[in-house]
Amino acid sequence: MKVHVDMNLCQSHGECAIVAPDVFHLGDDDVLVWHDDVPEDRRAAVEEAVNACPMAAISIEDE
């Protein structure tokens, strides 16, 4: 599954990094870094991150 974050929307709230720390984290410069190719067994956590993001910046792209 592909994870996309719209960096024009992301405002470094870090919700995603709390819900799915293995996929998302905030770098020291406060900028979000994430894995864009995520194993299927983490889908539930990424979906939770999608709902937790206040900016609706995260989306899942199924191939």
């Binding site: 470094s12 709230h13 709390i18 206040p54 609706a56």
Partner: protein
Amino acid sequence: MSTPRLDRLVIVGASLAGLRAAQSARKAGFEGELTLVGDERHMPYTRPPLSKDLLAGSQTVADTALRLAKLEAGWRLGQPAAKLDRTAHQLTLADGTTLPYDRLILATGCRARQWRGPGAELDGVHTLRTVEDALALKSALTPGTRLVIVGAGFIGCEVAASARKLGLEVTVVDIAPHPMLPLGAELGARCAALHERHGVQLRCGVGIEAILGTDRAEAVALSDGGELAADAVLLALGAEPNVEWLAGSGIEIGAGVVCDATLTSTVDADVLAAGDLAAWPQALADGQPMRIEHWTVAAEHGTAAGRNALLAPEERLPHTQPPYFWSDQFDCKIQSVGLPMLADRLEIVDEEPDTGRLIATGERHGRLVAAVAFNHARRLMDYRTQLAESVGAAR
């Protein structure tokens, strides 16, 4: 013990908390009838842009829609719930239709606090809670207009920032000694400096007596005898919970709908509450029930209540995440975690005077209860984790 029937889940309030509750119940496997009742005509939308990007023009109304994904639910929009009969397990809507439920989630949130002083009814006097409010306010924000904002809380401060960006003359009045009162005097002084640096006139420690004008607001009369000329006035006096419709239902009402840690009503295990409406025990405040008006709390509450509503009371999980909040004002992102308003000591632990970045911690009786950051997201995360661990929060 026989399991009670759980075919019908009804959610009252079709905004953030209500939507998240519906999504979470479906995700947890609920296959019965799911109905959302909302008195606004709109599908769920997000409010934070109403004082920020939508006002400033960098987002449209369409951008504020919350994504529904593939939610299967019935929607009763444009219709408030008027009465709750717990014995009959039934809601009555304002048009008289009834709606039976097995479990009910209350998520009717808040409205803008009204001010009933002289002149409150004049044209050009605004409050801000809904998308209609935001559009009305936006149409008044033309360059050169004089805007007086009453209330220097987060909405007042955010609108001040948006309005300055649009080239308005902005004055903010508050009876409190500094803006952003819950953040304490030291951080409040930094907020005041931020606004003054960007050309906002701040009048702290003074109240308003009246709004003057014949048809339209023309000026605001202050308690110190002064007067401020105004083309538009925003009353940003905080929010009050939409609880009146529950009168007579026997639901315990305190600061809001009083719940236990699992967001279950203290008087009825078939009724749960979520979001701005719910008062639930705060682990950081010795279990005292409090109502918290934060976006993330409403989202987390909805998720927890939707899941818990499907379970027997003894299986429900407590919601203990420390509250997280953000506010954007000019180039400053203010973030807080925990309960800064309860701190008896707020200490700035790191500050870069050149950039305005800072991080502060709040303690109560020597225990960490809050952290506040200005443009310091990464550092705030560390405190968020620490606070969550200190109260044993589980997700």
